[in-house]
């Protein structure tokens, strides 16, 4: 579940060395838009999914245009603050438009838990890692096997050279942000039935996913997915054997530890050292 959100950080990072710090709020936006279409307007599920992803793509592109590009050009890290600001705006806008209560997102897959021995799970919870792996595979394929994906990577390695080779850099970055927001939208739709839909759901998801992205290595999609699964396991292990209060403490302590030992992440590419 975290892996899916964390992939969004990865995509914009490899293209532009920037990221949307409010990725969690994009997840929230996905869940809220899906709720509005599916429950509010009563649209069928497939139209809902389509509409949500289109809206999210527009939001992602808009975010890039407004909050990232002006600062990207100036090579200033202000995009960090401006994306957080956009997230806060999104959260408050959602409170105004959507309301402040958590709402249920009905799903056929969360009606009845499947019991296996003493423990059980909802079918929806199984769907999340499956979709996560598929998307990870898709993203990998896109970046390594398709011409446009390779172009995006080239932008990250050397924007000037990529520009000289005829790659339209602003368009590439815009595309990455759109794609990243669409991924967040998918995560939002998948998570909505499990977590319920709330305007405030974004922050903790976004932060945890950022931790996962850093642990896994911002440049490595498989690393992020592995870290996502691993982080989930550590969380439930700590919650099960210690206490829920210790969960965030252990989780984020782990982030610091990994940053010290392997600053490039578990499977991230070790940056070449300039001597």
């Amino acid at each position: 579940m975290y892996g899916l959100v964390a992939l969004g950080y990865h995509i914009t990072w490899v293209t532009s060395r920037t990221m949307n710090f409010s990725q969690g709020h994009a997840v929230m936006a996905g869940a809220v838009v899906a709720f509005a279409c599916y429950v509010g307007l009563g649209w069928p599920l497939w139209i809902t999914v389509l509409a949500t992803l289109v809206v999210l793509a527009i939001l992602g592109v808009g975010l890039e245009r407004v909050a990232v590009r002006p600062f990207f050009r100036a090579a200033s890290p202000a995009w960090l603050l401006s994306t957080i600001a956009c997230g806060i705006i999104a959260e408050n806008a959602a409170m105004l438009l959507f309301g402040k209560d958590a709402r249920a997102f009905p799903s056929a897959l969360t009606q009845k838990p499947i019991l296996v021995g003493g423990a059980g799970f909802y079918a929806q919870e199984l769907l999340i890692p499956v979709v996560g792996l598929l998307l990870m595979g898709g993203v990998q394929f896109f970046y390594h096997r398709t011409a446009y994906g390779k172009q995006l990577k080239a932008v990250a390695y050397n924007p000037e050279a990529a520009g000289l080779m005829g790659i339209h850099i602003p368009r590439a970055v815009m595309f990455a942000y759109g794609l990243s927001a669409v991924l967040a939208g998918i995560a939002g739709i998948l998570l909505a039935p499990v977590l319920n839909v709330a305007a405030t759901m974004g922050t903790i998801i976004g932060l945890t996913a950022l931790a996962v992205a850093i642990i896994g290595g911002l440049t490595s999609a498989p690393g992020i997915v592995v870290a996502g699964v691993g982080y989930g396991l550590v969380e439930s292990f700590v919650a099960g054997y210690l206490s829920t209060g210790a969960r965030e403490i252990v989780g984020f302590a782990l982030v610091i530890l990994i940053l010290v030992v392997r600053p490039w992440g578990l499977l991230g590419a070790r940056p070449a050292r300039r001597v």
């Binding site: 209560d101 423990a119 319920n196």
Partner: protein
């Protein structure tokens, strides 16, 4: 020219300031509401506002108070933040000149405001926050009154239900990791202790936690035969979902936090059988006041039936609280804080209210108008709240 303008401005300002003093006898009596009207508990603030407004409309329709002065509501948002709560408490009294201020859902905010009411000598009427020490604050004279639950009585009530109605003796406590959870941990341990029962486990969870199965599994493995839960709606819903996930069909007895949001919608069929405490239910047969309030809710706020009443206890508590305050103002013959406070402690006659009939609801020692005998136990049945017998 400029000097002339300045002079005119001064005259205008002077007129503006002196006018209210002349018209004071017909001025409305302002009643404040300091509650969360934004954020996760916004539904509670809205519910309290509705209860107050409906009661005020009734009083005003009968000619208001103090010989024709209307009641007027002034609302400020505490955002669930104690510091903000103190600021707006001062603003309501010092700038808006409210005679009495009603309070909202958060115990933390209400506790922070207690010294302010005493300093400004303004009565506070609690409509939701149940923290025991809000009303039992050790001040004398005490300016804090409450028509709502009190955690101490609530915990007594929950324990009584679990032991005498369910006849269970191995409670597992599941509490939110906040000051409110803490207040109930103390209360529950106290009342369980009086029955020489020790909880088999005490588990906590944080706000916005998605999965409570680990805590539930620990309680289950410790041998709990029922759960006593202190949670708000979103987390309460996740508890119920997690309970279904681990396939544990144990009885659940809950404090009233789960009624402050959309618990039934969030849990669907899983809410079936969850019992919780309320001060009032708009389901079932209603007394005259109940019918009048439901009608007003429908006319004014488009509430079609009891299932659409948001956070019902907020509306019910605020409604009765407002009527009691109006009676106290009449009896005091003044809108002055100290006099209203004295009148509240010595209310004469009886008020046939929504929740119960109040006969001298407050005394110098007792500032909670509702006690455990006035609470009701209710259960979710197919998305509806049905009262449960206590015997």
């Amino acid at each position: 020219m400029r000097r002339a303008l300045l002079f005119l401005l001064c005259v205008g300002l002077l007129a503006a300031f002196t006018q209210p003093a002349l018209a004071q006898s017909k001025d409305p009596v302002k009643i404040g509401l300091a509650a969360a009207v934004s954020g996760g508990s916004a539904a509670s603030g809205e519910a309290i506002k509705r209860g107050l407004q409906i009661a005020m409309d009734e009083v005003n329709a009968k000619g208001g108070v103090l010989g024709g002065r209307k009641l007027e509501l002034v609302i400020r948002d505490d955002e669930g933040n104690p510091a903000k709560g103190v600021t707006i408490a001062r603003e309501l009294v010092e700038r808006e000149k409210t005679a009495v201020v009603f309070g909202g859902l958060h115990t933390t905010v209400a506790l922070a405001q207690v010294p302010v009411w005493h300093e400004l000598k303004t009565p506070y009427m609690g409509a939701w926050a149940a923290g025991t020490e809000i009303a039992r604050n050790g001040k004398s004279p005490n300016f804090v009154f409450r028509v709502s639950a009190n955690d101490d009585y609530a915990d007594k009530f929950l324990v009584q239900y679990a032991t005498e109605v369910l006849k269970k003796g191995k409670p597992g406590l599941l509490l939110e990791n906040t000051a409110w959870g803490q207040s109930n941990e103390v209360g529950l341990n106290k009342w369980l202790g009086q029955k020489t029962i020790k909880p088999v486990g005490i588990e906590k969870f944080n706000w916005n936690d998605p999965d409570m199965s680990p805590q539930l599994l620990r309680l289950k493995n410790a041998g709990a035969d029922h759960i006593i839960m202190v949670a708000n709606a979103p987390e309460g819903a996740q508890v119920v979902k997690s309970r279904a996930k681990i396939g544990w069909e144990t009885p659940m007895v809950a404090h009233w936090g789960i009624s402050g949001g959309r618990f039934a919608e969030l849990t669907g069929d899983l809410s079936h059988g969850v019992t919780f405490l309320q001060t009032y239910s708009f389901f079932g047969k209603q007394n005259d006041r109940g019918q009048a309030v439901l009608k007003a809710l429908k006319d004014k706020y488009g509430v079609k039936g009891p299932e659409e009443v948001i956070a019902p206890v907020g509306t019910a508590n605020a409604y009765d609280g407002m009527h009691l305050v109006a009676l106290a103002i009449e009896q005091a013959g003044s809108a002055e804080g100290t006099k209203i406070r004295e009148a509240l402690e010595n209310l004469k006659g009886e008020y046939k209210g929504l929740i119960k009939t109040y006969k001298r609801p407050f005394t110098p020692e007792q500032h909670d108008a509702l006690i455990d005998e006035d609470y009701i136990m209710v259960v979710w049945k197919g998305g509806k709240i049905v009262p449960v017998a206590m015997k």
